[in-house]
């Protein structure tokens, strides 16, 4: 067994889902033709000054509060200097000595959580594309607001790092703070890892891992690094303090730069930006707007609706799904039934169409009405689902829909009698089997009648009618 304890800390960059950039009115969506979403401020033209975007600060505060971090009453923007073509001003506006928030934690599982060191706001850099003709610079992304979340070195395994990221993404998505899509770059992660002998209190030399483009890559790179450092230490060697780049294809990391080569960023307070002073009342207002967090909501659903953990996990994936569920529930339905319809019918439609539940064509009220029709027996389950699909493209009440579809339930015995006779004629063996006591054989006959009525026949009436018909044909046993 491994003689070392693994110590991992993560630095996660998350793009805030704002309309405009952190310091300019240009749109923050980094899509579109290169260099079309660029203001003079993003270009760092002579004479421009940053114009702080209050919405971005509010969203960053929301992130901090969702993670239990303490928003500082005064924080400052700093300049971080380095020369690179993706950085128009020659410095990035970030926060250094006084970040927006400190502390907080992310739950890894029911018993463990990882503390957060700090959370700060900064602007993104542009994007470079290296071609045969030279390097192309796209500044659409330059100035997009980010928060950097730095964890304490509390993680003890690569799988804990994976769990940390999963939970972090869940909370941030749930609260509408970020899309958190690693493939699209709206979430990025660097990992620090060191090993120390079991029981030791002093951390070993840490290595920083970069170029981690998915949660899986984070885990794989950490696992590789865990093995590599173990081998170095076991052979009596020393781990070098360095930054390593992960290559997912080869499944290994390579040194990028040593500690001695670390750049001097020459941080200092940005004189263009006054200190960011946040009143307690503002913090309270943002906290109030935050609403319920996913864990709180899950606990409430468990308590109030007695749903299974699997069902609840689906309902709290994002805030709007749970909100929609609760709107249906407000009309007094059975929780498990609503949950089943949501998971089996609504979510697949959303998934296939790319629609948001907020604009789902069937309102929660109408779904409740439909479920009521099924619950009272006015509609069969099969017909209920036909009405559901009918309503996806029409602005109708379920009652109007079922009439239009001719799906009113058939209760009238005389209407159904010829169909019962047809069923026993078509399936004489089944009829005989029922007569000889094999009740299960009745299902085939029922199915025949349901197909004939396209599910409209009332199952209770059909059941009795078939038994009566068979009894009449074969005589009472």
């Amino acid at each position: 067994m491994n003689a070392y304890t693994t110590v991992i800390g993560l630095e996660v960059h998350v793009q805030l889902a704002t309309q405009s950039k952190l310091f300019s009115p240009a749109p923050a969506a980094a899509l579109g033709e290169p260099n079309t979403r660029v203001h003079a401020i993003d270009l760092g033209l002579p004479g421009v000054l940053p114009q702080p975007n209050r919405a971005a600060i509010t969203l960053a505060m929301k992130a901090a509060l969702a993670l239990g971090s303490a928003v500082q009453s005064t924080s400052r923007f700093s300049r971080k200097h380095y020369f690179y073509p993706d950085l128009p001003k020659g410095y990035q506006i970030s926060q250094f000595a006084e970040p927006l928030a400190r502390g907080g934690a992310v739950r890894i599982d029911e018993t463990r959580s990882c503390r957060l060191h700090r959370l700060h706001v900064e602007e993104d850099a542009g994007k470079l594309t290296h071609t045969d003709l030279g390097t192309l610079v796209d500044l659409n992304r330059a100035g997009v607001p980010l928060v950097e979340i730095v964890s304490e070195p509390d993680l003890r395994s690569p799988s804990e790092a994976h769990a940390f990221l999963t939970e972090l993404r869940h909370v941030l998505r749930f609260c509408g703070i970020s899309e958190c899509d690693m493939e699209l770059g709206s979430m990025r992660c660097d990992a620090n890892i060191s090993l120390m002998p079991h029981g030791a209190t002093a951390f070993g030399t840490k290595v920083e891992l970069k170029n981690l483009n998915s949660f899986k890559m984070v885990q794989r790179a950490l696992e590789f690094e865990e093995r590599r450092q173990t081998a170095v230490l076991a052979a009596g060697g020393r781990v070098a303090a360095e930054t390593r780049g992960w290559n997912d294809e080869s499944g290994e990391s390579r040194p990028q730069r040593s500690k001695e080569e670390a750049p001097d960023y020459r941080y200092f307070d940005d004189p263009d930006l006054p200190p960011l002073v946040i009143a307690l009342a503002d913090v309270d207002a943002v906290r109030a707007s935050l609403g319920e967090l996913p864990r709180e909501r899950a606990a409430r659903y468990r308590e109030r609706f007695h749903l299974s953990d699997v069902d609840i996990a689906q309902l709290v994936l994002d805030r709007t799904t749970g909100d929609w569920f609760e709107q249906v529930m407000a009309h007094g339905q059975d929780a498990k039934t609503v949950c089943n319809w949501l998971i089996a019918e609504v979510l697949p439609v959303l998934h296939n169409s790319g629609l948001s539940i907020v604009t789902f064509p069937i309102t929660p009220g109408r779904l409740a009405e439909l479920l009521q029709l099924v619950a009272t027996g006015a509609l069969t389950l099969v017909s209920g689902k036909r009405v559901f699909h009918h309503l996806l493209t029409r602005d109708q009440s379920p009652v109007d829909a079922l009439r239009e579809l001719g799906l009113d339930r058939i209760l009238d015995v005389e209407t159904l009698r010829p169909l019962a006779l047809a069923a026993t004629a078509a399936l004489p063996e089944a009829a005989a089997a029922v007569h000889s006591g094999k009740a299960k054989a009745l299902d085939a006959l029922k199915g025949h009648m349901m197909r004939a009525t396209r599910g409209r026949a009332d199952p209770t009436v059909v059941d009795k009618l078939l038994r009566d018909t068979i009894a009449a044909q074969f005589g009472t046993p």
Binding site: L45, G47, L49, P85, G90, D264, R266
Partner: protein, 488 residues
């Protein structure tokens, strides 16, 4: 009748409004004078004749159509070459930006345009504002209209020379450590540096962001009050901008004399080490103020002794940061590095920036570098706070401070090239107000035995530009120093 080019901004605005003359006549007269004389002084880097005449014609048409005119309608204004104007070149005195054209206009200029001012052209300056002789400009030096063998001061040397030579009644400048006040003093004109943030910096090519102020030069306090009223105030494009006070112009004549005014005379700014003739001129101003009812009080600003060192640490650190963007990637004249990025950036910056700018970038980079930032930049920031406290103490006991503007009068071109330290000491009396963000003015109050102008500096507490304008206005009503002209 007085030549149009000799009129003040206020007189021109009144005359245009009254129909005594047209904006087109005023503009043509000023342009003609520039073209006749500026070859000897190089106050302007470029004049915008077509634009200026078109603006003037539009104002004349507005008047003909009975449309309302702005408070500076028809007034020719010179703009320092570090304020951007959409479509025109802005070079900040640098080869690196020789062909740079901005897509947007500086707030300070946009507000002038909205007030009806006629922008005449851009004036010469020390490269990126770094210098106090206008000799570091990539476009050659500007000469002092009182004596072309002398420097005009800097970095707004072009603007100061333009006022001294009667090329225009109003010139916009910028003042980081004295760049409006010192050339005003050396050229015998009035110069105002407002409170930090009073005028938006949006569109001002940055030198040192925590010190940069847009200021103005003119011949009268009245013209500077007019300028301040149209230019000052909050601007969404500058997060450090502050709201305007009540307009200064209507309050300008509120004082007939200086009774009740307490004038502090800081020992550290009026003592040994200064030119005797400069000190004599300051005493003249103090005497006149006392005759007009002011009370002179002794005061002390101990931290002033460290102001120059503090200023050069803070200003160079910020400058190194602000000038990092000139890397040849997006603008500036790129020098190829044969496929190597760092080589391209190095070549571009080494050939594009002049020596003084490169020196200050190196000093500033050093002051912020790992292991030295606390020792240099950190200490400077604390000394700056001490200086602010010194000023606060002084202003508890007086309304305004009086000192010379510059330790010495204008000196010959080329005389300080081997002596940067002496040159930096030129700023000793102007950097204190810059570091504290206070409003300050330079006012001509005499000259040396050989006719070189000498100015005095008035410094007030935050937001009290109006008090400075009132004092200098009263003094102008009782003295004639500002009427002395350099050229016929």
């Amino acid at each position: 009748m007085t030549a149009l080019w000799r009129l003040s901004a206020a007189t021109i605005a009144r005359g245009v409004a009254a129909g005594s003359f047209t904006a087109s006549e005023v503009t043509a007269a000023h342009l003609a004078r520039v073209h006749l004389l500026d070859a000897s002084y190089s106050a302007f880097v470029e004049t915008w004749d077509e634009r200026a005449l078109a603006t003037a014609a539009a104002i004349d048409e507005d008047r003909a159509m009975g449309r309302p005119l702005g408070p500076l309608a028809g007034v020719p204004v010179a703009c320092k070459d570090n304020l951007v104007l959409a479509g025109e070149r802005t070079s900040a005195g640098s080869r690196l930006l020789a062909e740079f054209r901005s897509p947007y206009t500086a707030t300070a200029l946009a507000r002038l345009q909205a007030a009806g001012a006629v922008l005449l052209g851009r004036t010469n300056m020390d490269e990126f504002g770094m210098g106090n002789t206008t000799e570091t400009s990539a476009f050659g030096p500007t000469r002092n209209p009182f004596d072309p063998s002398l420097v005009p001061g800097g970095s707004t040397g072009g603007g100061a020379a333009a006022i001294a030579a009667d090329f225009c009644p109003l010139a916009i400048g910028s003042d980081t450590g004295g760049s409006v006040r010192q050339p005003a003093s050396l050229c015998g004109v009035m110069g105002l540096k407002p409170t930090y943030g009073r005028v938006s910096r949006s569109g001002l090519v940055a030198y040192a962001s925590s010190l940069d102020c847009v200021g103005a030069l003119a011949r009268t306090a009245e013209d500077l009050a007019l300028w301040l009223d149209v230019t000052a105030g909050l601007d969404a494009a500058d997060p450090t901008s502050i709201a305007a006070e009540r307009p200064a112009t209507p309050q300008l004549t509120a004082r007939k004399d200086l009774r009740g005014l307490r004038i502090g005379v800081p020992r550290e700014m009026n003592g040994p080490g200064l030119d005797e003739e400069v000190l004599a001129v300051t005493r003249t101003a103090a005497q006149l103020a006392r005759q007009l009812g002011a009370e002179l009080v002794d005061c002390s600003l101990p931290a002033v002794a460290h102001a120059v060192a503090t200023y050069y640490l803070i200003a160079t650190a910020e400058a190194a940061s602000n000038l990092a963007r000139y890397d040849g990637v997006r603008f500036g004249q790129r020098r190829e590095g044969h496929g190597r990025l760092e080589a391209m950036m190095t070549r571009t910056r080494s050939s594009g920036f002049g020596d003084e700018v490169q020196l200050r970038i190196l000093l500033g980079t050093f002051a912020l570098s790992y292991g030295y930032a606390e020792q240099f930049h950190g200490r400077a920031a604390r000394m700056r706070a001490r200086l602010c406290a010194d000023f606060a103490t002084a202003f508890a006991n007086c309304d305004v401070l009086l000192s010379p503007t510059s330790p010495m009068p204008a000196f010959p071109l080329g005389s300080t090239h081997d002596d940067p330290l002496t040159l930096y000491l030129c700023d000793a009396l102007t950097v204190p107000a810059s570091l504290a963000g206070l409003p300050a003015m330079s006012q001509p109050f005499g000259s040396t035995h050989d006719g070189r102008p000498i100015g005095v500096q008035w410094t007030a507490s935050h937001g009290r530009e109006t008090l400075l304008l009132q004092i200098t206005h009263v003094l102008q009503q009782h003295s004639e120093h500002h009427l002395r002209r350099a050229l016929p």
